[in-house]
């Protein structure tokens, strides 16, 4: 821990040089170090150690065992199903997110706040309940169950059920990122394009889309991470048929319950890798948006001083 504290000093010296930063800390130095130590200790214990542990457990018995666990047929089919579920649910919720953000950000209508609350609903529903919904709809005792059986269509305990549950779980992600972004941007640029004779579609493609692309990407990667990692909802509707209806998180559970820990952590490490990539892309986009805002602010200041 003392090494950490020593490392802090140079950065602090830099901070002391900048007069605005120096006034940040009214509290005594030891309080500052103690708080940094507590925060880092807490994050190390709860975030960093688990992250390291996933990869350690996966690679404990060597690279060959790791590779064998991943190219195993059941594991490969789980990876394929996860990609299918995410590949269907992300585009669907992307289209929805853009449509909802367009309607909510560009127009005024009654019941807008109710609509916003309803869009957020899937976030506040327990994953297990999200799965239960589809059991009630498509199960043998469900609303559409008997009809589906007569027509020999399988939704529950099959791939369509997994896709539906994933769509439900990831429903708000893109909309939630785009709505505040488009509301903040207003619609002056679109109006200008339309007045100058651009078609609605061209305006969307050439004016709106470039403005929202980073927010869109942000929503998509979060949506994708959740789609690939969802466990509770998918667990209820999957039926756990090996090599057929197991996604990667479900495969992790099965292997773990069979005490095949190394294989379980091998698949888990792929999901952890996905989480790390998601966090890296997310940080990059946040940095881009920050730069973007800074440039905009500088331009505003420049304009203001010129006039």
């Amino acid at each position: 821990m003392s090494a950490v504290l020593e490392n802090i000093k140079p950065a602090d010296a830099v901070a002391a040089q900048a007069p605005r930063k120096a006034t940040n800390t009214l509290e005594p130095g030891w309080v500052r170090y103690a708080l940094i130590a507590v925060a880092l200790l807490f994050l190390t214990l709860f975030l960093f150690v688990p992250l390291v542990a996933v990869f350690y457990e996966a690679l404990k018995h060597g690279w060959t065992t790791y590779k064998e666990a991943i190219v195993e047929p059941d594991a490969l089919s789980a990876i394929k199903l996860t990609l299918i579920a995410a590949g269907i649910s992300v585009p669907l919720n992307l289209v929805f997110g853009v449509a909802a953000a367009w309607a909510i950000a560009k127009f005024d209508f009654r019941g807008k706040s109710l609509l916003l609350t309803l869009i957020d609903l899937p976030f506040s529903v327990s994953p297990v309940i999200s799965g239960l919904i589809y059991v009630l709809l498509f199960g043998s005792q469900g609303w559409f169950g008997p009809w589906l059986m007569d027509h020999d269509i399988k939704i529950l305990f099959a791939v369509p059920g997994i896709v539906l549950a994933t769509v439900f779980i990831t429903f708000p992600f893109v909309a939630r990122e785009l709505i505040p972004l488009m509301q903040a941007q207003g619609s002056e640029e679109e109006e200008a394009a339309l007045v100058l004779g651009a078609s609605g579609w061209a305006t969307f493609r050439r004016v709106t889309l470039p403005n929202i692309k980073w927010g869109l990407l942000y929503g998509v990667i979060l949506c994708n991470a959740r789609a690939m990692g969802e466990f509770g909802a998918v667990s209820v509707v999957s039926g756990h048929i090996r090599g057929e209806t197991n996604t990667m998180p479900l495969q992790v559970e099965i292997l773990y319950n069979e005490y095949n820990f190394t294989a379980a952590f091998a698949i888990a490490s792929l999901l952890a890798l996905l989480a790390l990539v998601t966090l890296a892309v997310k940080s990059f986009i946040e940095w881009r948006l920050h730069q973007h805002r800074k440039v905009n602010l500088q331009m505003q200041v420049k304009n203001a001083t010129e006039h």
């Binding site: 708080l35 975030l47 688990p50 679109e190 466990f231 989480a275």
Partner: protein, 282 residues
């Protein structure tokens, strides 16, 4: 006034209102509203007595106590440490800060099943952390304490991410004024800083609590899942489903849904309060 007129003319210029709103409502109804209504309609097929018995049985009451109790403790831990993490990330400079800041979102990005098996491995009696707790007589894995650990992990980003922007916008001049008027750092903290971040802390608490009550994936591995002791409500719903007791499962789901709707309402009110506070300060 001119703003209002330009707004309404914008409504006329910009196309696609009918299409976008129509599709939004259609998709919302198809994916969320109609399926969700199935839960409530299913409960209406039960008699009141059957419903009441299903949602107040001894075993389910124990599961509510664990789910809500552990979620409450987890959220409280996150208020304290999440608040400190947010403060440290906003106010201090230290090496690796960008990395630490990005890592805070790990519980959002890491699939819950992965979190579940990893925490179990760490806290079991021969795990990296568990081996040091065991001699002290503290058992975490396969006990209610394990549920608290998992729910703390799951709720970690909420408090940090709600408090962080509020601290960033806070006016430091007020703190400096308090200090120059002779307030001690502790007084400055309790009288100036804390009142400003209380709405955000409460919002973060409510978000972490709401998420934790419904959590399943990260908990089932570490909990041990003993009925009456370490069985969370979502797991009990699954147990009912596996026994083909669909109505029983649905009845408990309704109770959980109503609890989460109340929480959602509380969160919306808290967020409105946070915004109002921020607006007043600006």
């Amino acid at each position: 006034m001119s703003l209002a007129t330009s707004r309404s003319s914008a409504n006329r210029v910009i196309p696609g209102f009918g299409l976008s709103l129509g599709f939004t409502i259609f998709y919302l109804a198809l994916i969320v509203l109609i399926p969700l209504s199935a839960i409530f309609l299913k409960t209406f097929t039960m008699s009141w007595d059957a419903f009441w018995n299903a949602v107040t049985s001894e075993r389910v009451m124990a599961s509510y106590r664990l789910s809500f109790g552990a979620a409450l403790i987890g959220a409280a831990i996150n208020v304290v440490f999440g608040g400190i993490v947010a403060w440290v990330l906003v106010r201090y400079q230290f090496p690796g800060k960008r990395f630490v800041d990005a890592l805070v979102d790990l519980p959002f990005a890491l699939p819950t099943a992965v979190a579940g098996i990893t925490l179990t491995a760490l806290y079991s009696s021969n795990g990296w952390i568990g081996q040091y707790l065991e001699p002290l007589g503290i058992k975490v894995a396969f006990t209610p304490l394990g549920v608290v650990v998992a729910l703390t992990f799951i709720g970690l980003p909420f408090v940090v991410r709600t408090v962080q922007p509020v601290l960033e916008d806070a006016e430091r001049e007020l703190e400096e004024a308090a200090a120059s008027l002779g307030a001690s750092p502790w007084q400055t903290f309790t009288r100036v800083i804390l009142p400003g971040i209380v709405p955000a802390l409460l919002t973060g608490f409510a978000l972490a609590f709401a998420r934790a009550t419904g959590e399943y994936g990260s908990v089932v591995f570490i909990a041990g899942n003993m009925p009456m002791v370490s069985e969370i409500t979502p797991l009990f719903i699954i147990t009912k489903l596996e026994q083909y007791d669909y109505t029983g499962a649905t009845a408990i789901a309704v109770v959980m849904l109503i609890a989460s709707f109340i929480l959602l309402l509380a969160i919306n009110l808290l967020q409105a309060w946070t915004r109002k506070r921020a607006g007043k300060q600006a």
